[in-house]
Amino acid sequence: MSSKGHAPDKSSGGKQSSKQDAGNAAYQDKSWLLSVYQEMCYFRRFEERVLQAYTTQKFAGFCHVHIGQEGLCLGVQKALRPTDYMISGYRSHTQAIAKGIPGQQVFAELFGKATGCSKGNGGSMHMFSKEHRFLGGHGIVGGQVPLAAGVGFAINYEKKDDIIVCYIGDAATNQGQFHEALNMAATWNLPCLFIIENNRYGMGTDIKRTTSIDHLWKRALAFDMDHGQVDAMNIQKTHEFVSNVVANIRKTKRPYLLDAICYRYKGHSVSDPGLYRTKEEMAEWMAKDPIIQLGDFLKKNKMATEEELKALDKKGKERARADEDWADEQPIPPEDQVWQNVYAD
């Protein structure tokens, strides 16, 4: 999990490797591990139900699910404080839930219901919660990166020690706004953690076909920004690494670019069969599945039996089902909502 050999010394990830052993103790904590396991199962089951609901035409529009990337989502979330901010792209259902938005409100939002977290104004791509400091799913690739810099600016301006986590897809790193924002964040020492969810495909295009560098953390080199790479298929490694990075950002106020290696099992959106990837490649990644990895660890260390894990998964399944059932019952927005919130008073 450490930063790769060719990462420069100044990488915080590299600096943090000494702390890793001390941190490891946390990963022996059985109850923590079991709860994380259950949440990952819940996230996966949630997104499966979302897919099912879409394919049975319970809702429409675009729908991008996060299956396979649960380890990153939870590993990061568990490293944050509630007052930290988060902003993301269009694949953010479970990130929103991780940040605190109840899953039923996310499901209701997908169904365009009045009680969705954006009252049916946002949909799959635009989950928001001021209360939980989740500043949105955003639909313009890379557009959220300057916003994150702005939040970082505001944190410094108000002399707070929160940070902002900004999720970015791998292909968004070729967008001009990404570079503009990273330059400002590095120049002005803004407390931003930019996380590239590097699942290696921008929609159907292999990132290698559109990008001149071999590793996306190298984008940080242009701005002399701290950076690192993490195996985001493993939640324990991810959590430990990100915890150290976050602590460092709080201390130094220096922004950080994290190249988080992960994989999405499903297509870019529901209508994408993912033909640009071979079955072998998919099988190879799915063998490293974050849920399976943690399950194996738990079994190997005699912290849980197969049956106990199955029971946890079942709980996740039930939770996801309950979220959907709740959303089914919710009212659609009143017509006069069309005219509300165009302008603030």
């Binding site: 499966e48 035409q57 297509g267 529901v270 209508s271 919710q330 017509e335």
Partner: protein, 411 residues
């Protein structure tokens, strides 16, 4: 319980699909979320995961046969479970679109109402018909207001367009509007009104053979009610007059006697479908009769408010044509001037008018046979004998007196 799996929508444009390959055979176990079948959509062939867990009990869709969205594909349930396929299909089709799309009822009802409002608005907004004459919108409006036929005006604008200044000339040529504009204000409004009064009253008296019925009513109860109503006037802001009470009672009585609320039309008699009571208002310049519409459906405060409003408008000379039009029965009241009794001339094309006198303390005999002083009001109804016979008129007045003597009877 067995669950039916339906053809899913796997692309935003997909309308039908075909099974490319079943990944599970009948009898095989499957978990929720596990791939069940490969489906050819209009865009691609995609694996589709099961939304149920258990055993594939029955496959209903052969590979490579296309089927519409929501067509049954297979049944999943517990091993050996029995199920009724028809029931499953009926249930699934009923709930094929389970997303709850019930709109807020108010919102749904709003749309057609708004549409019809728009439609009626547009039908009202008919432009002034001017044939093929080219004229600016303002010119058309001025012409309509002044009653000038715009086709007779020569346009000075591009391609002969009639514009506002062309109509200034045309208007100047019309003697009437000149008088109206610059004439002696002392003469014109008075004579027009008197002319109208004269014409109408003459027609009313000449055409309609009048006969007269006089009654008197004990107004004690009405007076009590009026005192009560006016005690609340501080709160409601509406003061009720005797005349308002008479209007209300007449309207309610007319609703029961449609033969009085009528008009002679030569070949036929119209019994009006609505009760629109006109009230005579005396002005220094003459008499006007503004109309309270649907009088029988109003409550006493509405009537008081409207009668005051109309009287005010009449005094300010602000009554519009609409305020005059459509009366079906008229009440003329000179009671406030101390007139005990009088007869009025019918306001054509109505069939009757009620002349109301002052309420005067009068010795009378009460229910117990005692001689007492009662506040009594005399009324004389003039009837058009072509429409109303004596008994009809008498029955109407009986009802009216009943209402005036016991307001509760109106309820």
């Amino acid at each position: 319980m067995a669950q039916l799996i339906l053809m899913p929508k796997l692309s935003d444009t997909m309308e039908e699909g075909a099974v490319a390959n079943w990944l599970k055979k009948e009898g095989e176990e499957i978990d929720e979320g596990q791939d069940l079948v490969e489906i050819e959509t209009d865009k691609a062939t995609m694996a589709f995961a099961s939304s149920a867990e258990g055993v594939v009990l029955k496959i209903l869709l052969e590979p490579h046969k296309s089927a519409p969205l929501n067509a049954p594909m297979c049944v999943i349930g517990k091993k050996g479970e029995s199920y009724n396929l028809d029931e499953l299909i009926a249930k699934a089709t009923a709930g094929a679109k389970p997303a709850d799309k019930k709109p807020a009822p108010a919102a749904a009802a709003k749309a057609p109402a708004a549409a019809s409002a728009a439609a009626s608005a547009s039908s009202q907004a008919q432009p002034v018909a001017t044939g093929r004459v080219k004229a600016s919108p303002l010119a058309k409006k001025i012409a309509a207001d002044k009653g000038i036929n715009i086709a007779t005006v020569t346009g000075s604008g591009p391609s002969g367009r009639v514009v506002a200044k062309d109509l200034e000339g045309a208007a100047a040529g019309s003697s009437m509007s000149r008088t109206v504009r610059t004439g002696e204000d002392r003469v014109i409004p008075n004579s027009m009104m008197r002319k109208t009064i004269a014409k109408r009253l003459l027609a009313g008296k000449n055409d309609a053979p009048h006969f007269y019925l006089t009654v008197s009513a004990d107004m004690s109860r009405m007076n009590d009610w009026r005192v009560r109503l006016n005690k609340e006037a501080e709160k409601t802001g509406v003061k009720v007059s005797v005349n308002d009470l008479v209007i209300l009672s007449v309207a309610k009585a007319l609703a029961q006697h449609p033969g009085i609320n009528a008009s002679w039309q030569g070949e036929s008699i119209i019994e009006y479908g609505n009760v629109h009571v006109a009230m005579a208002v005396a002005l220094p310049t003459g008499l006007v009769t503004p109309v309270i519409r649907h009088t029988d459906q109003l409550n006493i405060r509405d009537i008081a408010k409207l009668s005051r409003e109309l009287a005010g408008k009449a005094k300010d000379g602000k009554l519009s044509n609409e305020d005059y039009a459509g009366g079906t029965f008229t009440i003329s009241n000179l009671g406030m001037f101390g007139i005990e009794q009088f007869t009025a001339i019918i306001n054509p094309p109505q069939a009757a008018i009620l002349a109301v006198g002052a309420t005067i303390p009068t010795p009378g005999v009460d229910a117990k046979g005692q001689v007492v002083v009662q506040p009594r009001m005399k009324m004389t109804m003039s009837c058009d004998h072509r429409v109303i016979d004596g008994v009809m008129g008498a029955q109407f007045l009986q009802t009216l007196v009943g209402f005036l003597e016991e307001p509760l009877n109106m309820l």
